[in-house]
């Protein structure tokens, strides 16, 4: 039997230097997330700041003149060509986001409330098209909506129209249809998640208190799933404002969007600062529009209660 250890009065000296558990936990967490965070910082945050800086400079043939100027923003906001593109992009992203969310809500509702054991399978089916190449999907819409396309030949075969219509392709509608399709999964998932969180007993309680199917949906389910619908709106609205492929392939002259102009500034036109200013402007404006949408919807929801 050894009780020698008990004789040693203080092994705890080493304890003093040890940082408290919580602190070291936090340090471990920070150390662990750093590589990823630094990568995002270097490849995303810094470049966006650099772009922001460029938007206040001037292109001088091959060089950049680094004198501060707001000229690029004046051009971006007042030149009719850019102003119109910006307005159209905003209109398209606003329309697309609302149409997408309105179309997506019932399907998210169906999966959440009637999906039963196959919820996972449903979600998988819904998301598959989204995972396939965006470029190919847009191209496919071009095939569908074209002059000799599937829609026209189909309608003609059915005898609904007698000659091919040009109304489907190379306009704003074509862009809206294609984008609505492209972003469907992004809208369904957040709405589905928020519907899943709705406590089913709340709906039973509403029924118990005398609400019918429609009223309990409007008074309980819809308000409680609003956060999901709003985040779906944002997730669709912000990226679509900068879409490049869709307007190029199916937009024609009437469907050109701001991204096409931005690309031109970094390509043929070689005016980086103007391209930067257009990028910053569209980001700021779409963020403002998104904020306003959220505000209006929340306000409307409060009024309805």
């Amino acid at each position: 039997m050894t009780i020698a250890a008990e004789g040693k009065p203080d092994d705890s000296a080493q304890q003093a230097g040890r940082p408290a558990l919580l602190q070291s936990e936090a340090a471990q967490g920070i150390a662990l997330i750093s590589p990823t965070f630094l990568y995002a910082l270097a490849m995303l945050a810094v470049p966006i700041l650099v772009t922001f800086a460029h938007s206040f400079w001037t292109q001088n043939y091959m060089d950049i003149d680094r004198t501060f100027t707001l000229e690029n923003y004046r051009i971006a906001l007042t030149e009719p060509i850019y102003r119109d593109l910006l307005w159209r992009s905003l209109f398209i992203s606003l329309t697309v986001s609302f149409v997408t969310v309105v179309l997506a809500y019932p399907i998210a509702y169906y999966i959440s409330f009637h999906g039963g054991r196959h919820k996972g399978l449903w979600l998988f089916i819904i998301t598959i098209p989204f995972w396939t190449s965006y470029l190919l999907r847009v191209m496919s819409w071009k095939v569908i909506l074209g002059f000799n396309g599937v829609l026209n030949s189909g309608l003609m075969a059915l005898g609904i129209i007698s000659e091919p219509s040009t109304a489907f392709l190379y306009n704003t509608n074509a862009v809206i249809i294609t984008l609505t399709h492209a972003w469907a999964a992004f809208a369904i998932l957040p709405i589905f998640v928020s519907l899943e969180k709705v406590d089913r007993t709340l709906i039973e309680a509403a029924t118990d208190l005398g609400d019918g199917a429609v009223r309990r949906f409007l008074r309980v389910t819809l308000p409680l799933s609003m956060p999901g619908a709003i985040s779906a709106l944002m997730i669709v609205m912000i990226p679509t404002v900068g879409d490049y492929v869709t307007p190029r392939l199916v937009g024609g002259k009437d469907g050109v969007m701001i991204a096409n102009a931005i690309q031109a500034q970094f390509g043929k036109a070689a005016n980086w600062p103007l391209g930067a200013a257009l990028s910053v402007t569209s980001m700021v404006v779409v963020t403002a529009m998104a904020g306003a949408t959220v505000f209006i919807l929340r306000w409307a929801a409060r009024q309805a209660r």
Partner: protein, 273 residues
């Protein structure tokens, strides 16, 4: 009230089916027209052929761009998964100040217009004098794959009971041994799933590749170039069909693995025991 309810429960399934049809319509047209005789994609179909597929291997530009895509996809998926593991582990396992900000920035590429990400990176790379190459495409693809990797990995790591690792230590295992014998086998499905998902994203990604690739195009950039020529459309459709199949297979495997991982983590909680 009963009528309303019956209507509600009846129009929804119909709507669901129509919606799924809308989602799949463009995707199913690709394979259909890729085996159609006519070079113009329109109905009625003119007959079955495999000639568009047969032509593919004889296109050197196609093969080299496919090779480029493979290199980019492998590099981007491996690096983004490694970085994703760090972030997902940090987010699920630890609590620290600045966590929301950090994860917010990491997830930001998911909600930013890709063109903004692309031109910003382009601007910086050109300023730094970094020549555009497959390497710059890889840098961009890592950035946009990370959010997907993190999402997949978090769903694999979440619900991972910390006491499993403690139990391993309690039974005499070292930190490395615990990682090898407990942590890794449990999260392996999520890691493979993350690799597959990010490979698929990279394989299909166009905008960043379009801006950041120099003279070496990836598959989508190659396809973009071909779209100008109407005569090339059927070959592009054939190529697209093959890409579609590849994506579908990888995603199915990824989904099966992700679910297996999630089920494991859940079962551990003993809720369904």
């Amino acid at each position: 009230m009963n009528i309303v309810r019956r209507l509600l429960s009846n129009w929804l399934p119909v709507y669901a089916v129509l919606y799924v049809a809308f989602l799949y319509l463009p995707i199913l047209l690709l394979p259909i027209f890729s085996i159609n005789q006519s070079a113009v994609p329109q109905f009625p179909l003119t007959g079955y052929t495999m000639k568009w597929y047969a032509g593919l291997p004889n296109t050197p530009e196609l093969l080299s761009s496919a090779w480029n895509s493979l290199i980019v996809g492998l590099s981007a998926s491996i690096v983004s998964t490694i970085l994703g593991i760090c972030a997902a582990r940090a987010i699920t396992r630890y609590r620290f100040r600045g966590q929301r900000v950090a994860s917010g920035l990491i997830m930001a590429p998911l909600v930013l217009p890709e063109i903004i990400v692309a031109v910003s990176m382009l601007l910086v790379l050109l300023q730094l004098g970094v020549g555009l190459s497959l390497f710059t495409v890889i840098l961009g693809h890592i950035l946009i794959c990370i959010p997907y990797s993190v999402t997949v990995l978090i769903s694999g790591f979440e619900g991972f009971d910390r006491s499993l690792e403690e139990a391993s230590a309690d039974l005499g295992e070292s930190a490395w041994g615990t990682f090898r014998r407990v942590t890794l086998p449990m999260v392996a499905p999520a890691i493979i799933s993350s690799l597959l998902v990010s490979f698929t994203i990279s394989l299909d990604e166009f905008i960043l590749a379009f801006f950041l690739s120099g003279t070496e195009p990836t598959l989508p950039v190659y396809i973009w170039g071909q779209l100008r020529f109407a005569a090339k459309l059927p070959s592009v459709l054939a190529l697209g069909t093959l890409l579609l199949l590849a994506s579908f297979m990888m995603l199915s495997i990824a989904e099966i693995l992700r679910r297996r991982a999630a089920r494991r983590a859940q079962n551990e909680g003993g809720v369904y025991a």
